[in-house]
């Protein structure tokens, strides 16, 4: 009886170990897939900015440093989204958000920009992209939370400690800031309502 029990335990340990390892690998892959979903939307945001600047420049008779600042922040965000760490990407996106914020503030005070109809279309696309970023972030953070929780559970914690599984970081950006930009760019605020 005791011998049978020992044999069962000897068989069970590697099986449980393998199942735990597989579950952790699957969880880590879900985190990576979630991150990939975020970067797709971030790239879409990056692609919209040159058009936004071009639409504004077309309407302007003179250059402005705000455009340069926005394009520089966008260039840095584009560079890092492909090769940077998640912390670097988060920081670059925060800078890009700040630059967009400055641009919006300037646009509100500049009738030549607000009168350009292309900005209305770009605003709609930007708003949709930011909704997608927010949703992708929620899904990614859900994956991260589930994965991190698993890392703390038995028997996964033993496998994780010996298998090099590290905790994943949440993607935390100031969503209120994203929303504010979207609202600031709204048609009514920019004077792009009917008849304009």
């Amino acid at each position: 009886m005791l011998t049978t029990l020992i044999i069962l335990i000897i068989i069970a340990i590697p099986v449980i170990w393998a199942l735990s390892q597989n579950a952790l690998v699957a969880g880590r892959e879900r985190v990576n897939e979630g991150w990939s979903g975020i970067t797709i939307q971030l790239k879409r945001r990056h692609a919209l900015i040159p058009n936004l600047v071009q639409a504004a420049q077309t309407a302007m008779t003179h250059e402005n440093s705000i455009f340069d600042k926005l394009l520089a922040a966008r260039t840095e965000a584009v560079r890092l989204v492909s090769s940077g760490s998640r912390d670097e990407i988060t920081e670059a996106e925060a800078h890009l958000t700040a630059a967009l914020n400055d641009f919006v503030g300037y646009a509100e005070d500049t009738p030549e920009i607000t009168a350009n109809g292309n900005i209305q279309l770009l605003q709609t696309q930007l708003e949709e992209t930011e909704d997608q970023i927010a949703a992708a972030r929620r899904l990614y953070n859900g994956n991260v939370t589930a994965y991190n929780m698993r890392l703390d559970q038995i028997p996964y914690s033993y496998v994780a400690a010996r298998g090099g599984f590290e905790r994943a970081a949440l993607f935390e950006v100031d969503e209120a800031e994203f929303r504010r930009i979207s609202q600031d760019l709204s048609v009514s605020d920019l004077g792009l309502g009917a008849g304009t």
């Binding site: 879900r30 897939e33 979630g34 979903g37 927010a134 899904l139 990614y140 859900g142 994956n143 589930a146």
Partner: protein, 311 residues
């Protein structure tokens, strides 16, 4: 006056504004409702006694018969069934929409053929959806919709806290609304897919449906792609097209609808069907109309998110 409206089954239908009917209250209706649960207990207890006790067998049979007859005839004799149908018609006033007419039997059969998996009982969807009346209209965003609807009186605790919504003074009972809402998209999504509650047994190697990037969404929903004739397609075929339509925003919206209405979805190219139920803890038909209108708008948000990406 009859107006031509979009219909997911017949293509076009003629609908008129619903007429509001008066719910008549039988003097014994309240008493019957109050005694239903005790009589059910009497019926079951009598059945148990009849089966297990030789001495009291005839008493048990008598008790079970009385309880059974009461439950069977109580609501008929007091007009409760007629009132239930009247309440459905009154609920069809939701948002000033059209219709509210009883669903014809041939159309019910057509629905069962086209969206069978939305209606049937399955793991993860604990209530089969029964549809008795239909409503047509447009959402606030001008999307044509059709709704099949039924109501059943329910106890307040039924469905658990997530499925309950209070909409007025405290009542011990309310209305369990079961519905299917279909929306016409102005673009072809290019896919036939079913997004149903996930089977509880779908774990590890038994979890074989299409996966998105969200663990939470995958745990909640079972995603299957279908051919034009309804046959399931092979693993991997068409998954990319489906995942392009299931954007992050769409997934988040469907998760929220799953929390609120136990939602399930069929995407049929340019038509999206949502099925769901919710226990509305009210007997006030004006409140019920508002809640059903809100359900139409809630599901329209998800329908629009499919459409937005297709555009």
């Amino acid at each position: 006056m009859s107006i031509s409206v979009w219909d997911p089954i017949t293509g076009q239908a003629n609908a008129t504004a619903p007429t509001e009917a008066q719910v008549t209250t039988h003097p014994l209706a309240g008493l019957v409702r109050m005694l239903t649960l005790p009589m059910l207990i009497v019926c079951l207890t009598g059945f148990g006694i009849a089966v297990f006790s030789e001495t009291w067998m005839f008493h048990g049979i008598a008790a079970a018969t009385v309880g059974f007859v009461f439950i069977l005839l109580g609501s008929k004799l007091t007009g409760e069934e007629d009132n239930r149908r009247t309440r459905i018609m009154n609920a069809a006033h939701a948002g000033g929409h059209l219709g509210g007419t009883p669903l014809p039997k041939p159309k019910i059969a057509q629905l069962a053929g086209r969206i069978k998996s939305l209606l049937v009982l399955r793991a993860g969807a604990s209530i089969p959806l029964v549809l008795e009346h239909e409503i047509w209209g447009t959402t606030r965003g001008d999307i044509p919709f059709w709704m099949g609807l039924s109501l059943a009186q329910s106890q307040a605790f039924f469905g658990g806290p997530k499925a309950n919504v209070r909409a007025g003074p405290d009542t011990t009972h309310g209305e369990m609304a079961m519905f299917v809402v279909a929306y016409q998209l102005n673009r072809d999504t290019g896919i036939h897919a079913e997004i149903m509650p996930e089977f509880t047994t779908a774990k590890g190697p038994f979890d074989l449906d299409v996966k998105t990037e969200s663990a939470q969404f995958n745990d909640r929903f079972n995603i299957r792609l279908r051919e034009e004739d309804g046959q399931a397609v092979g693993k991997g075929v068409g998954s990319v097209a489906l995942l392009r339509v299931l954007t992050p925003a769409t997934q988040v919206t469907l998760l929220e609808l799953s929390d609120t209405y136990s939602a399930r979805v069929i995407v049929d190219r340019d038509v999206v069907f949502f099925g769901g139920y919710r226990n509305f803890q009210t007997t006030d038909h004006a409140a019920l109309q508002r809640l059903l209108s809100q359900a139409v708008e809630d599901f329209a948000t998800a329908a629009t998110s499919f459409k937005t990406y297709a555009e």
